[in-house]
């Protein structure tokens, strides 16, 4: 008897459900009464998984095969974490059962973007897609197909299946972290890592919290309570040009000028140094502050150059990602061992003249001395002027920050998503580093944008040895060229879990290139008919995170959690693993075997999880699938209690910087901090040429908008801030009926009352926001908290709510050359800078 696929799935579901689900999750209704009256009710715990960094456990109550209610599972071992969750997770049924749910595969019939499709079977759609892909690969090479899975953390298994396929097919692949502009480039530059952050449970352990450009109260909803607790136990200072919900909760709000945080950081650093509030011992042992810099070339002094050290240097072997630098001790120049963070008896603030091996003499100074000289430009008076913050306030805050340990700096995306965002991060990193607030509970600098984090070694699933991943920065794709860009270009887009036609259509490039036919194939995997689906040639309906198995992780907390199916995939939707497998076998029958073809998709997913955990390394040692089925499990770290405290190992166990940032091997990123220490001084040629060897303040828009078109200075006077909305996770939930009801169904533009009055605009007016790249429209709201010169728009509205004029048609895919001197995908890469955008606003025609 041959089982129909559906029956098989149902049986499989029932079998795996009963075997896989812990019986704790099966709660019959009120015992006997249930048997008599209600159908068996199940409660299944899954993990809500959009790219919000929440990764919150939710219980789905299932009746008659449908999810009837959702509520937070609140089952994290530390009570302070519970319950997590938010209004979007609580209304997820609106997406699962809403009218935009994709039911079956679609193949385009009308022009791109028209939304005209015909229904197809999976086989038909897969055959079609495989055929088109093979054509393109034959014509342009396999790298002409580019995959995007957005950010990894929300689904190691399912997203991993797409990545695995890309590797085996030798396709190109974009990294969601830099595509989203979530990559704060100061991290690899200063610490040699992708990004680091404290888990939010650690926030209340800080005594002084400084938040720069992060609206935590609105964007880190499940963790906001930790910030309020931190405020209760210490002091919370929020730096934000606008008065937002987080500013409202702060003890002190510093209304600094937009994009002036580098000046602020340097001004604060100057006060700390001038008043000797820095931790000299820390700087000596863990940073590049004692290292010597040549005053003639600006390059750091290498031991091999120094007459007294050349022989000793040659005798020591260091890994190729290290260099041998020089410091000064009582006797003169000394060789620094980059593989040892032992205490060194170095002079911190010094200069000297050194005899070089080639016979010449050179004047050198320590990085610390260079920094002090550098900071001469950042007096309180000048910084006050640059930031528009009173000098006394800056001084007082600097003293408070330096004398309240632990100090925690939270550095947010709306701060660093500027062209010179890396300078701001490097400047602000001075605060915790100068004061020794690194690697300790409640201390450090953290960024929390994007669920980028790969918490352990995923190579086993993501990168099979037979495969090869060709990473291409998304910004190169958008502009059509770049370093290491596929020779014949990228001609096919294959994506899931993302909505680039709304969210990454900068300067409308994507739609233009699709309309012109330059991009020959667009395939999208999603569970709702988004704008990107509308622009696709083939659409595959996806199972949601209540309909399949997956493994998730995030940055706000170190728990691994399962997604578990509460219901069968709706209509004809399937999991990514299944799609990858079925597509793989059509592309090349030899690669089908990499996707567990012998297992039913759910069983395959579970197997992948088991293997991932077994082979994940120290972080997953002892963690099993059975444990995960019972609830969230903390990954291991080197900090006590497995706490997520960045650089704990570096500071306490003196392991050199950097720690590894999965998935690349250590050597790929360690070369960013060749000294094995925290580095503020960067001496690559381009850093020196740009005058950014140390963090500095650079004028906003001078290198972007004003450089490209100087007339913009007078034409477009408003900074365009496309902030996150309370009601959406980027563009997920844009069509959520309750979220839209709560917003009065209106996309909004926020202006300062004076700016509105000058443009003769009144609240409630339909206004058009425009520049020379594009336009969008919204209803005007006067916002007393909005600073003059700023136009705030809540991003994430699907194009259909904006008359098909997307807010991203106004933004630009600027690329800072310094972000191209190395390439490690998602770690050192050109990264999107949304805020680097000027606009004007006028009344829209009805």
């Amino acid at each position: 008897m041959k089982l129909e696929r559906r029956d098989f799935l149902k049986l499989g579901l029932a079998a795996t459900a009963l075997s896989a689900l812990d019986l704790r999750f099966l709660r019959p209704v009120d015992g006997a009464r249930a048997a008599a009256s209600a159908p068996l009710e199940q409660v299944i715990r899954s993990t809500c998984s959009p790219n919000c960094t929440g990764a919150c456990g939710f219980m789905a109550q299932v009746n008659d095969g449908r999810i009837t209610t959702l509520i937070q599972s609140a089952d994290y071992p530390e009570a302070e974490y519970n319950p997590r969750g938010c209004l979007r997770g609580l209304s997820m049924m609106n997406l699962i059962y809403g009218k935009d749910r994709l039911k079956y595969p679609l193949i385009r019939t009308g022009p791109r973007g028209s939304g005209e499709f015909r229904k197809a079977t999976w086989d038909e759609a897969l055959d079609y897609t495989a055929a088109r892909l093979k054509d393109i690969m034959a014509k342009y090479g396999s790298e002409a197909v580019a995959v995007t899975v957005q950010v990894p953390g929300t689904g190691y298994v399912q997203k991993g299946a797409f990545v695995r396929l890309a590797a085996l097919a030798n396709w190109s692949i974009h990294h969601g972290y830099d595509q989203n502009g979530d990559l704060p480039m100061f991290w690899p530059m200063t610490f040699g890592v992708q990004t680091e952050e404290l888990e939010s449970l650690e926030w209340p352990n800080a005594r002084y919290t400084m938040v720069f450009g992060s609206n935590i109260i609105q964007t880190r909803l499940p963790d906001a309570k930790q910030l309020i607790e931190a405020k209760k136990r210490g002091k919370l200072v929020v730096f934000d040009p606008d008065f937002c919900a987080t500013s409202a909760k702060a003890d002190e709000w510093v209304a600094l000028k937009p994009d002036s945080d580098a000046a602020m950081g340097l001004g604060l650093a100057r006060v700390i140094i001038d008043r000797n509030l820095y931790d000299a011992a820390f700087l000596r042992d863990f940073t590049d502050m004692p290292l010597l810099v040549r005053r003639d070339t600006g390059k750091r002094l290498r031991a091999g150059e120094v007459k007294a050290l050349a022989a000793a240097a040659a005798a020591v072997k260091v890994p190729e990602y290290r260099d041998q630098f020089v410091f000064l001790n009582g006797s003169g120049p000394a060789l620094l061992n980059p593989e040892d963070l032992g205490p060194i008896d170095a002079r911190l603030d010094a200069e000297a003249t050194v005899d070089l091996a080639d016979g010449t003499r050179v004047e050198v100074e320590t990085v610390f001395r260079a920094l002090k000289r550098w900071l001469a430009d950042y007096s309180l008076e000048r910084v006050a002027e640059l930031t528009e913050v009173p000098a006394e306030q800056i001084q007082r805050i600097a003293i408070e920050a330096a004398t309240s340990k632990p100090l925690h700096v939270i550095y947010g995306a709306s701060n660093y998503q500027w062209y010179h965002g890396d300078l701001k991060g490097r400047a602000l990193a001075l605060l915790p580093v100068l004061t020794g607030n690194i690697g300790a509970s409640g201390a450090g600098i953290s960024t929390y944008a994007g669920q980028y984090r790969i918490r352990f070694d995923l190579d086993h699933w993501w990168l099979p040895p037979e495969g090869k991943l060709n990473w291409v920065p998304y910004l190169y794709f958008l502009q059509g060229h770049g370093k290491r860009y596929p020779e014949k270009g990228i001609k096919a887009m294959f994506g899931g879990w993302g909505n680039p036609f709304d969210q990454h259509n900068m300067a409308n490039r994507l739609k233009d290139r699709c309309a012109s036919g330059d991009i020959e194939l667009v395939v999208t995997f999603d569970f709702q008919m988004t704008t990107s689906c509308q622009w696709s040639d083939v659409v595959f309906p996806a199972a949601s995170w209540y309909e399949n198995y997956d493994l998730t992780a995030t940055i706000l907390h170190p728990y691994l959690q399962l997604q578990q199916p509460a219901i069968a995939p709706l209509f004809d939707s399937r999991s990514a693993l299944e799609l990858a497998r079925d597509l793989a076998k059509r592309l090349d029958p030899g690669i089908e075997k990499y996707f567990y073809p012998e297992l039913e998709p759910r069983a395959a997913a579970l197997k992948v999880i088991e293997d991932m955990l077994a082979k994940g390394g120290a972080e997953t040692r002892g963690i099993t699938l059975e444990m995960l089925k019972k609830g969230p499990v903390r990954v291991h770290s080197s900090a006590p209690g497995d706490r997520q405290i960045p650089f704990h190992e570096q500071i306490h166990d003196r392991v050199p910087f950097p720690p590894r940032s999965y998935p690349p091997p250590l050597k790929a990123t360690a070369r960013f901090v060749r000294s094995g220490r925290i580095e503020f001084y960067k001496d690559e040629d381009l850093f020196l040429r740009e005058g950014e060897q140390l963090p500095c303040r650079k004028e906003t828009f001078a290198d972007t908008e004003y450089r490209v078109d100087p007339t913009v200075r007078d034409k477009y006077k408003l900074r365009f801030v496309t902030k996150n909305s309370l009601y959406r996770v980027h563009s997920t939930h844009s069509n959520n009926v309750w979220m839209n009801e709560l917003q009065g169904h209106q996309p909004k533009l926020f202006l300062n009352a004076q700016d509105a009055a000058e443009r003769r605009l009144e609240p409630g007016h339909l206004v058009e926001v425009y520049n020379n790249r594009g336009k969008t429209r919204a209803t005007l709201v006067l916002d007393p908290g909005c600073r003059r010169g700023t136009a705030i728009f809540e991003q994430g509205w699907w194009a259909k709510y904006l008359h098909n004029e997307s807010y991203n048609s106004l933004t630009m895919h600027w690329i800072k050359p310094l972000h191209e001197i190395y390439f490690v995908p998602g770690i050192w890469s050109p990264t999107s800078v949304w805020n680097e955008c000027l606009v004007e606003v006028r009344r829209a025609e009805a």
Binding site: P83, Y97, G98, K235, G785
Partner: protein
């Protein structure tokens, strides 16, 4: 035993998760929200009324001890549970809406049309309906049903249908800020009583004499 709730406005981040949890668990159709969260002084939620000043306020049935709605109901459909919760008997309500006129907080919602028809305005697939699917009777009276009928009144009932299971109301469980606490106001040592005492708990519209069982803790003063 007097069941009461304390909402800490310092912890309230105005996310409206409680309003959504309530809506969801109680199957409220389009246009009806028993629970709402607002930004006092502002036209637009989470836009400050004035630069430098913003806080958030959740409002739903206050379960008053001197409830005007209970007193005006001609048929006793609005009644008081043993723990002080004000409930509506869906089978007895005649839909005169006197209680709606009587409530100074404006918390009551009426089924102006067939709720299934109202629900259809959300355009779910295949007749999908959300909400706790089981009816609940308090002392035999129907105080929760997943589908109500047109022409009757409804409102927050402190999730009486979860009480038996020892569960807190949906708004409490759904609040990521942990701003809400439920407890016995008659017990001076209960968490809620202590919160009110220690943190200057206040009521809304005390001058109306309704004596609500819902208290608020003021947002903190800034002592920078």
């Amino acid at each position: 035993m007097r069941r009461g709730m304390v909402i800490d406005l310092e912890k309230c981040i105005g996310c409206r998760s409680c309003a959504v949890a309530c809506k969801q668990h109680n199957a409220q159709p389009a246009g009806n929200w028993w629970n709402r969260v607002v930004t006092p002084g502002s036209d637009q939620h989470q836009t400050a009324p004035e630069k430098g000043r913003e806080y958030f306020l959740p409002i739903h049935c206050q379960h008053c001890q001197n409830a005007p709605c209970e007193k005006v109901c001609p048929v006793g459909a609005t009644f008081r549970a043993d723990d002080g919760t004000i409930l509506v008997d869906y089978e007895r309500c005649i839909g005169c809406r006197y209680c709606m006129a009587a409530c100074p907080y404006g918390v009551r919602q009426f089924n102006w049309e067939d709720p299934e028809q109202a629900m259809s305005r959300y355009h779910y697939q295949d007749g999908y309906a959300f909400g706790n699917p089981r009816e609940y009777r308090y002392q035999g009276r129907l105080v929760y049903a997943p589908v109500r009928t047109k022409g009757i009144v409804e409102k927050c009932h402190f999730c009486v249908h979860y009480l038996d299971q020892g569960l807190d109301p949906a708004c409490v469980r759904g609040c990521p800020g942990k701003a809400r606490t439920v407890g016995d106001l008659d017990d001076p040592d209960s968490v809620v009583s202590r919160l009110i005492r220690d943190k200057n708990g206040f009521q809304l519209l005390p001058e109306k004499g309704t004596r609500p069982n819902v208290y608020y803790l003021p947002p903190k003063r800034k002592e920078a």
